[in-house]
């Protein structure tokens, strides 16, 4: 049982080889090459207990591209709304014959438990505020492509860190790949402790000149982040990526965002659509990186 539950504890070599495979698929897709049907005859089930159409579609496209059969489970149209427990849903889905379960859930340990209960490889498609391994891999792939390497890059993650699973996945893996991280945001949206020992700052303008990557996060009002801020306008004033702040960046620095973007809050159009933006490359790398993850999840099994 392998799958991909977390990036915590993975070595540089393990991360790099996943990125290599992702890069290979990225090139093949770009070149229009015939893709190997390595998942032919296999069934991938996506179970998204939290809404995220784009991540789900990206996984489903990745699975189909490698020849897998895709089953898709969404709780609002299923027995979860009739009171079935998470455990029973997982066991039911996997008993139908699933080779890999791709799971999105609002609870931090949902993927770990699904793997333990079902004994099927589970790929974590985002759990709680803790894990979003494929987003981190996608972003690392994007940066590797853009800069030619990752070692020594300085990334500032800006915004609602406390509520961000992307930030925690980045913290779990990007330092292993040689990226130096700084967390930037208002104190109410920063983690309450710093077990990662990374640099933390409340003053974005003091950091901008040192960063190679400005990684912007959305204010997650649905997780209560709004109550930690006086107003959205105040946030935009202090942390919003606008033309003035773009001018403070080093010449080669880039802007990234995992989406969905709130234009006018964490960034304005000049940052989202400007030449520094890697946002569309991030999206384009989603499918090939997830192809690599699915193939590894199953490949190690057989």
């Amino acid at each position: 049982m392998n799958g991909l539950l977390t990036l915590r504890g993975m070595t540089t070599g393990q991360l790099e080889s996943l990125l290599d495979l992702g890069q290979r698929y990225r090139r093949m897709i770009r070149a229009g090459s015939q893709l190997p049907q390595t998942l032919h005859g296999r069934t991938i089930t996506t179970a998204f207990f939290e809404p995220s159409t784009r991540t789900r579609l990206s996984f489903e496209k990745a699975a189909a591209a490698l020849g897998a059969v895709v089953m898709s489970f969404t709780p609002e149209t299923s027995s979860t709304s009739k009171g079935e427990t998470f455990r029973d849903t997982v066991l039911t889905l996997t008993a139908m014959g699933t080779d890999v379960l791709v799971l999105r859930h609002s609870l931090a340990d949902a993927a770990d438990l699904a793997a333990r209960w079902s004994r099927v490889p589970v790929v974590n498609a985002g759990t709680g505020r803790r894990e979003h391994p494929t987003q981190t891999l996608i972003d690392a792939l994007t940066l590797r492509e853009h800069f030619g390497g990752l070692h020594g890059l300085r990334m500032g993650i800006v915004g609602d860190i406390a509520n961000s699973r992307v930030a925690r996945s980045h913290l779990a893996a990007l330092p292993t790949l040689g990226i130096e991280l700084t967390l930037v945001g208002p104190p109410t949206l920063l983690p309450t402790a710093n077990p990662w020992g990374v640099r933390i700052s409340a003053e974005l303008d003091d950091e901008l000149g040192d960063l190679d990557v400005i990684y912007l996060l959305r204010i997650q009002k649905e997780r209560g982040a709004g109550s930690g801020l006086p107003s959205g306008a105040a946030y935009a004033r202090h942390y919003g990526m606008n033309e003035e702040r773009l001018s403070m960046l080093k010449p080669n620095s880039v802007i990234m965002h995992p989406g969905p973007m709130n234009r006018g809050v964490e960034l304005d159009d000049s940052a989202a659509d400007g030449e520094r933006s890697l946002v569309l490359q991030q999206v384009a790398n989603g499918v090939p990186m997830r192809m690599a993850v699915l193939e590894s999840a199953i490949g190690e099994e057989s």
């Binding site: 427990t85 998470f86 455990r87 859930h105 609870l107 931090a108 340990d109 949902a110 770990d112 438990l113 709680g128 505020r129 803790r130 406390a162 509520n163 961000s164 699973r165 925690r168 983690p191 309450t192 402790a193 710093n194 077990p195």
Partner: protein, 420 residues
Amino acid sequence: MIVIENGRVLRANGVEEATVTVEGDTVTAVGSAPGRNGARVIDARGAWIGPGFVDLHVHFREPGQTWKEDLESGARSAAAGGFTAVLTMPNTDPPVDDGPSARRAIGAARAIGAARVEVAGALTRDRAGVEMADFDSMYDAGVRVFTDDGDSVPDAGLLRRIMTYLAGLPGAVVAEHAEDVRLTEGGQLHEGSMSALHGLVGLPGAGEDVIVARDLALARATGARLHIQHVSTGASVDLIRHARATGVAVTAEVTPHHLALDDTALADLDPNLKMYPPLRAGSDRKAVVSALREGVIDAVATDHAPHASAEKDVPFEQAPRGVIGLETAAAIACAALGADQATFFDRMSLAPARLGGIDRHGVLVEPGSPANLVLFDPGHRWAPKVFASKSVNSPFLGKGLVGKVLATIYEGQISYEGEL
């Protein structure tokens, strides 16, 4: 007749190697045995003999949730842990909050043979935190400790009236679970490095401290006898220390799990490590251990909170709060205190019996003392695998422990017998 040989006996003048003779419900001799014809002779092999342990904080789930525990299984679990008396919390379903419910609970408790089961009553009607509970009729039924355990009394004005009222009933104790729910809403584990790593909402230490500070101020103003339940933070310890030094009638308890563990144990989010108050930072753990040694925290109390296995085999955020503790408490407390028999028995028996007003328990072993005794071997290595409790939600299941109860004697009868 029971004759216990070769034990180290905790007597009024200190520890002495002696033979203890029990006849009926009384210790009849300490020193040489007057006779042993037909007696059950137990070789204590150097183990400690002292008054049976007293636990001021257990949840036996009867009535309402007897699949988790009931009075009978709870009392057997107590006996297996060396306890001869326990105080049940009133958050049963229905709760103990008036005369009829108190009389019913006490009647059911009196029928239990393995341990003395005393009953605490609620501070507010239906534990809802809105109006005073029916104190006089509970008091007349025999209740002395009042608590809304599981919740603090949320309204300081109401708590002040409660304290003023209970200060007028001799021996009545206001026991508080210290948690400001405005600060702990959604919290899953201690707010600190571990909550940051998991991205889970933390329960800040301040959520406990602000209630302790409030309650101490109100106890000072009203003269009520205040007992702070399951103290877990260094800041709360400091508040209690200062209040005691300046004349507030306050006592405190700490759980075995807060003595033994801190939040670094939660790397894998084991639901058997989820409870309130949560496992705190290492510095908090050290502070409660020192406070127990010092006597600023008076007693060890388990907060024995059984939950069925299926209820705990769920995502951490969905798991109910609470762990069992009766059968592992003595080993943990002994390790935390260091090998000093007199202090150990004070915190495990004498002090809690005194605080809870539980007679016949917590009495030093002398001729004429009640035969509520425990044999505890402080050097015995073991790992708990099964429990007398109906539930197994222990943080120490399968873990190596040092110190084990060999036998428990309740009112002259052997209520638990391990490897003798």
